[in-house]
């Protein structure tokens, strides 16, 4: 069987890729439908050759019983953040927290595991007294910006949680974050994105005093950069782990390296990148075919924040992009049927194979999901539960209506009811008081 046919069969047999393929087939034009499989197979074949040439694939060892007996003495910390996405027109409540699950299997019962609510913020983004974002600087209070502000807060909180553990001199063997170790900061470079309050920054990064914490110093970009620099100094390895990759940083970087070495021509490089973009081919897609269960890809250094993007271009933050640390990205295929998980770190891993084997072992404890179980556990812990969001929504609604009724102004009451009616139809069909006419 030729390599190409083999890869095609792998694509067909692979469930998640096949689903994507079907999705593409439904939405794409007939021409694309016809050649999607051929293109993906050809790209995979080419990438596999390069990966083989670069000797990037490593077989990881895992023997369940044996592994855990040897590693029961290790202390691991798993971190994740949770945000309540409640929003109604009149307010922007923000509940955000990060949780840490710290576990040392061989410790005696009471010291074996800790669930720690590491960072918490409860407030309203419209409230001028809120202690997170400085509203005097906030030009963006439309709805869409609210989500961006919430995301910014979550990213900062997660990073700051790692910082906090380092500051507290915690003795971890490993620290894992659910999500990228370095998020793409581009969305937060837009003009007028609010700065954090002085109070917030002082509390999050007590060592950070740049420019006496003026507005620029308190901007997301600067605060996040400062947190990342601190994490980079950590004595224990810190990894960000991402479930599925929606982009192709590893492949693109690999192709770039080969182009730089002159092994690939500029033209081939550009054309291939264009094909990857057109066909929405991601690292996950290709590596799912290339890697076998229990195999990993050696980490490659990748620049995440790239100067010259259309959004950052011309922004005051464009030059700052260069200051962000490079990220080391590797992959592990944890089972037969899931996409490989992406492993990110801010430093080049010293014991890459050992560390990746540990990650694989934690993922094997979820044999179907194939994701590190510690992150799954902390995800459940940090998540703002639905009942809490529901309760807070109900509270806000009741409060708003009470205030409106208190005002005794019919227009205010109508407005409150309108705000609380989720659909226009329910507003139109609202019960009207008085006699039917």
């Amino acid at each position: 069987m030729s390599d190409e046919v083999n890869i095609k069969n792998k694509i067909k047999a692979n469930s998640s890729l096949f689903i994507n393929f079907v999705k593409n087939a439904i939405t794409a034009s007939p021409t694309v439908q016809n050649n999607f499989l051929d293109v993906t197979a050809q790209v995979a074949l080419t990438i596999q050759k390069i990966i083989d040439d670069a000797n990037l694939i490593v077989n990881l060892d895992y023997k369940g019983n044996d592994f855990w007996l040897k590693n029961r003495c290790k202390t691991s910390c798993f971190i994740d953040g949770g945000v309540d996405r409640t929003s109604i027109i009149s307010s922007a409540p923000l509940s955000i927290r990060t949780g840490s699950y710290i576990v040392k299997p061989d410790a005696e019962d009471k010291n074996r595991e800790f669930f720690e609510e590491s960072m918490v913020f409860l407030g309203d983004l419209y409230d001028p007294k809120n202690e997170l974002y400085d509203l005097s600087d906030d030009d963006f209070d439309e709805d869409q910006m609210l989500n961006k502000k919430k995301d910014g807060a979550r990213i900062i909180f997660e990073a700051v949680t790692i910082v906090k553990h380092i500051l507290l001199n915690r003795k971890f063997d490993y620290c894992f974050l659910h999500g990228p170790i370095e998020a793409t900061v581009m969305p937060f470079t837009v003009m007028g994105f609010p700065t954090f309050t002085k109070f917030a920054v002082e509390n999050m990064l007590p060592f950070y005093t740049k420019n006496k914490l003026n507005a620029e110093a308190r901007h997301f970009i600067n605060v996040y950069l400062e947190a990342l620099k601190y994490i980079k100094q950590s004595k224990f390895p810190v990894y960000g782990i991402v479930e599925t990759s929606n982009s192709a940083p590893y492949i693109k970087n690999l192709l770039y390296t080969y182009k730089s070495k002159g092994i690939i021509s500029d033209k081939d490089f550009k054309n291939t990148l264009s094909t990857i973009k057109k066909y929405k081919i991601t690292d996950s897609h290709l590596l799912e075919i290339i890697l076998k269960n229990g195999q990993a890809l050696k980490p490659l250094e990748v620049k995440k924040q790239i100067k010259g993007f259309s959004v950052t271009s011309g922004s005051a933050w464009e030059d700052k992009m260069e200051s962000f640390p490079s990220v080391y990205i590797g992959y592990i295929k944890t089972n037969d049927h899931s996409s490989p998980i992406r492993i990110e770190s801010l430093t080049s891993p010293v014991n890459f194979k050992k560390d990746f084997e540990y990650i694989l072992a934690t993922a094997r404890l979820l044999p179907n999901y194939g994701f590190p179980v510690g992150l799954n556990i902390v995800d459940k812990f940090a998540k703002i539960p639905n009942w809490m969001s529901k309760a807070s929504r109900r509270y806000y609604a009741t409060h708003l209506l009470k205030q409106a009724i208190k005002s005794k102004d019919q227009n205010t009451i109508s407005l409150a009811v309108k705000i609380l009616s989720r659909k226009v139809r329910s507003w139109r069909n609202r019960p009207l008081g008085g006699m039917a006419r």
Binding site: K63, G64, N65, W68, L69, N71, R72, S76, F78, Y101, V103, P105, D106, D109, R112, E113, F115, T362, R364, L365, L366, P367, N368, Y369, V373, G374, N376, I377, K380, F381
Partner: protein
């Protein structure tokens, strides 16, 4: 009662009502069956808002660990990994308890009142002290004559008492599988009632209560414990019972044969006395009428008379056998003094007297004769209680293996004599002080009318679903949660519900070791075989058996 000293063990969860609530329990702080409290506020009848203590019983506990994924268990099993070696969490068990609300108390008045306003969600749940729980149970029971029976299943320190007055007048049923603790319970109640000089009669089929005779002097010096064996004595008024006995024990008869039997009973007068003797007289007379080809019986041929005579002979033979079997069993216990059951019609005071326990030892008797004996006995004793003179005091009848005496209609045995008698005694027992305690391992096989007359139930381990259904059907106070618990009860653990307690309680019955009958072994058949020594008669038979066998093998002649 200092509620502030009670330990906080959990928090009431979201939705509550006046019957039950759920709460989140701290690890290892309470068990199923425990009595707990929560402080709440309710509107009083005067319209004020008053703080009250709500009492409840934990009816179920569910534990979950949301942080332990199911598929992790798969990997642990497949790879033979010890969870303690991994990073999986072991301390995040979430315990949710369901609480059945028993009622509320106000200030220091320990009388439980029905709750008519839901408990407060998010309120603290407390674990009252054992003394306070016991005080509540005693105060709430308000019994003049409490009987100690054991301790609360979940808390050994809480002693449980039941109300003797309701027990002896309103009837009680004790159900449970064989070996689950029924007899232990009965013995416990008997012990308490004996101390109160309350008369009792026990229908003992297996000899479970002979321990009372053996230990009488030591444990009950102020009581009389009598051991009777049945005397099948009948009076002329018991014709119905005699006819039923002959009909059921003898050969099946055709209609003319039955007519003859009926007429025979009319003709052969009897002053009263031994039933066996009377049946032998009947058989003799029947043969006489047949041989004379008597014309005293219209349209009945001698052949029919002979058949009836043979049937009577059959009945006499069976009764004799049963008497002999019972006799042999009695002989095995030569150290016990058995007395013939006095005539309940003329000498009831010998059976029922203040401070006396009478045990009627029925071993060896088939259902029907035993039923007849019980029917005649109870019918007469009941009559004496009905009379104005009241020759005997109120008493309690304990019916062991009750399905033999009061079978359900579905068993097609409902016309056995004791059913009707016990039905009467139990229905009118409250008026005349003839309480009944029904003990059975098969409640589904009991007469529904009789079982439903028992106002209290003590239920032990029960696995059979038919029996579980019958139990809940007959009980007004046993909840669904209680019945779910039945298959999981251990020996001596039971649920008491009904009028002897105010709300159902899971109880560990106190085991009275000294009341075990020393002459009955523990069904240890393996040891019995290990120590088996053949009887001399068997040895003799074996000695000659080979010789006789040789004779038969060489005998070639045809039989004449």
């Amino acid at each position: 009662m200092d509620t502030k000293k009670w330990q906080s063990i959990g928090t009431v969860l979201g939705e509550t009502n006046i019957d039950h609530f759920f709460f989140s329990l701290k690890n290892y702080k309470a068990k199923k069956g425990d009595i707990i409290t929560t402080e709440s506020k309710i509107p009083s009848s005067e319209g004020n808002i008053i703080p009250v203590t709500v009492w409840g019983k934990i009816s179920s506990i569910e534990s979950s660990n949301a942080f332990f994924p199911t598929e992790a268990a798969q990997e642990l099993t497949n790879e033979n990994i010890d969870i303690r070696d991994t990073i999986l969490p072991m301390t995040r068990d979430e315990l949710i308890c369901k609480v059945i609300i028993l009622g509320y108390t106000f200030k220091n008045n320990l009388k439980l009142l029905p709750l008519n306003y839901p408990v407060r969600p998010a309120a603290t749940v407390s674990y009252p002290s054992s003394e306070d729980v016991e005080a509540l149970l005693i105060s709430d029971l308000g019994s003049k004559h409490p009987l100690f029976i054991g301790s609360l299943l979940a808390r050994d320190a809480v002693k449980i008492r039941i109300d003797a007055d309701n027990l002896v007048s309103r009837h009680v049923s004790i159900f449970g599988m064989s070996g689950s603790g029924k007899t232990v319970m009965v013995r416990r109640i008997m012990d308490e009632l004996l101390k109160k000089q309350y008369p009792m009669i026990v229908l003992d089929i297996h000899g479970d209560y002979l321990g009372f005779i053996q230990k009488q002097k030591k444990l009950y010096p102020n009581n009389e414990v009598k051991l009777f064996y049945p005397n099948l004595s009948v009076s002329s008024e018991d014709k119905e019972i005699i006819y039923t006995l002959i009909e059921k024990l003898g050969n099946s008869l055709t209609d003319p044969q039955k007519d003859f039997l009926s007429s025979l009973l009319e003709k052969v007068k009897y002053e009263g006395g031994s039933l066996l003797k009377y049946i032998e007289i009947l058989a003799f007379k029947a043969r006489g009428f047949a041989s004379e080809s008597s014309t005293a019986f219209k349209n009945i041929r001698p052949a029919s008379m002979y058949v009836a005579a043979r049937s009577l002979g059959q009945v006499a033979k069976k009764l004799k056998n049963m008497e002999q079997t019972n006799f042999r069993h009695r002989q095995k216990m030569a150290n016990l003094k058995f007395e013939e059951l006095p005539d309940p019609a003329t000498e009831p005071e010998k059976i029922i007297a203040k401070g006396q326990l009478s045990i009627l030892y029925l071993k060896g008797y088939e259902n029907l004769p035993a039923s007849a004996i019980v029917s005649i006995l109870l019918e007469n004793l009941f009559k004496h209680r009905q009379e104005v003179e009241e020759e005997i005091p109120p008493f309690l009848t304990i019916i062991e293996e009750a399905h033999n005496f009061i079978p359900s209609r579905s068993e097609n045995k409902d016309n056995i004599p004791s059913v009707e008698t016990i039905r009467k005694v139990i229905t009118e027992g409250r008026k005349f002080g003839t309480g009944v305690m029904i003990v059975s391992q098969r409640p589904s096989r009991l007469d529904e009318t009789i079982a439903s007359q028992c106002n209290s139930q003590i239920i032990f381990r029960m696995v059979n679903q038919k029996d579980q259904r019958a139990t809940t059907r007959d009980s007004e106070t046993l909840s669904v949660d209680d019945s779910k618990q039945l298959p999981n009860l251990a020996n001596g653990q039971g649920i008491i519900s009904g009028q002897v307690v105010n709300f159902s309680l899971p109880v560990q019955i106190k085991f009275d070791e000294e009341l075990i009958n020393d002459d009955i072994g523990n069904e240890n058949f393996i040891t019995a075989v290990e120590n088996w020594d053949e009887k001399d008669s068997v040895k003799q038979r074996k000695k000659f058996a080979k010789d006789f066998s040789n004779i038969s093998s060489i005998d070639k002649r045809k039989a004449n």
